[in-house]
Subunit: 263 residues, 2 copies
């Protein structure tokens, strides 16, 4: 692999290396630097921050062109980032991009998302990392508007950087460029998935269950949230950190410390 | 399944329904209520908050005794919680317990952890949820001290509750009861896993990679962290919330909103 003065950009996703969404992201990111892609060999949606411990990982070189090398792997999106940094890239990348995911990763979906798993892993390494998702699950989603906004955000981040330890969760409404109203920087909406398992019986009379469900916004009225922005045709950006600590509760639960004496 | 006035407690883990750690947790939790266990049929470590979308889930009834019913499933720890709440339990559980995990889930390990994935899923449903982990990867780890501390914490949470939206990440040092010094309520340590892939070549001359690595504490001097507590033989409790928003950056990145005009 050649190295030069252009930014080195790692691109990954969870829909697989041949998804239309990652093709769009590669197309945009090539304007900015040298691109290395490593992405799952098949769709790995819903993998969150999972890593592969019990099986060996394999890497396949799919293609190698000027400033664009593509690999696939049997691993998760987080494995992709670990493999890239530790086995493939000649140096730490200047930027990690994940997506463009076919489907929303706003609100609580961020925690289930393989797309955002990869982004957060990049963030743990201190590398500026951005996840892009479009609110359209279709394989043939129209990425015209997404590419315009992705280009804008990538340019801004390459120029201005992001604070170490912060990454970006970008969600883009369905629609043509002129239908979108701009960008809102906002917070993660309080919401949850309500499950409705689809229970079926196989030919051997054994039950099995398909996970389905629908998203419920628990604060639809609040206009500082990503779901509000998206419902109102704005691209949402949630600056994202990986600190699960409830700092208020650290103080309020101090009583737990004083109530046990084991001798 | 009978219902009565005892608390209904859901127990799960990521090491599998027959691990020694979950046996210890079942033993302690039976003192407090009616127990339903649903846990993975095999070890599912490192599954984080992953859900199973592309394959059907199956549930196997392992055993049914007075106030203790045990199921296994082919799903992830998060799937276990979703299946329990939506398919198995007669009502929402009063408490969800996960573990006792064979190995630490302190610091950044919380994001890779299937044990804590299940706990956070319970928290999304608004149910008091606690994850327990011991700093001992051995299958035959000694859970004597862990059981004493788990009993204390479960009793406290059943009596006092936890704020909705907060769950607990409890880690327990290796050691006999008299060697542990008590409990510290603390914050998640800044740290990361440094990867060292073990590269091998199979008989067909193809390379494969095993994920290995070691944990690096990025702030070993700070005594308000879970790693400090554990290194000093305290049980650590990190109150945990699921809001990834970087609220400081929501303000500082507002400039991103004004710089794009798409017509």
């Amino acid at each position: 692999m050649k190295t030069n003065n252009k930014p080195l950009i790692l691109v990954t996703n969870d829909d697989g290396f041949d998804a239309k969404g990652i093709e769009s992201l590669i197309e945009v990111s090539r304007e900015f630097g040298e691109i290395v892609v490593i992405a799952p060999d098949v769709s790995r949606s819903g993998m969150s921050h999972a890593i592969t411990i019990k099986e060996p990982l394999r890497i396949t070189n799919i293609s190698e062109n000027d400033n664009l090398t593509i690999y696939s792997t049997n691993g998760t999106p987080v494995d992709c980032v670990k493999l890239a940094i530790n086995q493939i890239l000649p140096k730490l990348p200047d930027l990690i991009l994940s997506g463009i995911n076919h489907g929303s990763n706003a609100s609580i979906s961020v925690i289930y998302s393989g797309t955002m798993g990869a982004v957060m892993e990049g963030c743990i390494y201190g590398i500026p990392s951005i996840g892009f998702s479009i609110l359209d699950y279709s394989k043939n989603a129209d990425f015209t508007a997404s590419k315009i906004y992705a280009r804008h955000i990538i340019r801004n981040v390459l120029k201005n950087g992001i604070n170490k330890g912060t990454c970006l969760n970008v969600n883009i409404p369905k629609g043509l460029p002129h239908e979108l109203k701009g960008i809102k920087v906002c917070r993660q909406t309080k919401g949850m998935w309500k499950e409705e398992f689809d229970k079926r019986t196989d030919p051997h009379k054994c039950d099995y269950f398909w996970l389905t469900g629908y998203f419920e916004n628990l604060e639809p009225e609040n206009d500082d949230t990503d779901e509000w922005a998206l419902a109102n045709k704005y691209v949402s950006i949630v600056p994202t950190i990986i600190d699960f600590t409830d700092y208020v509760a650290v103080k309020s639960l101090k009583n737990l410390e004083n109530e046990i004496l084991v001798k």
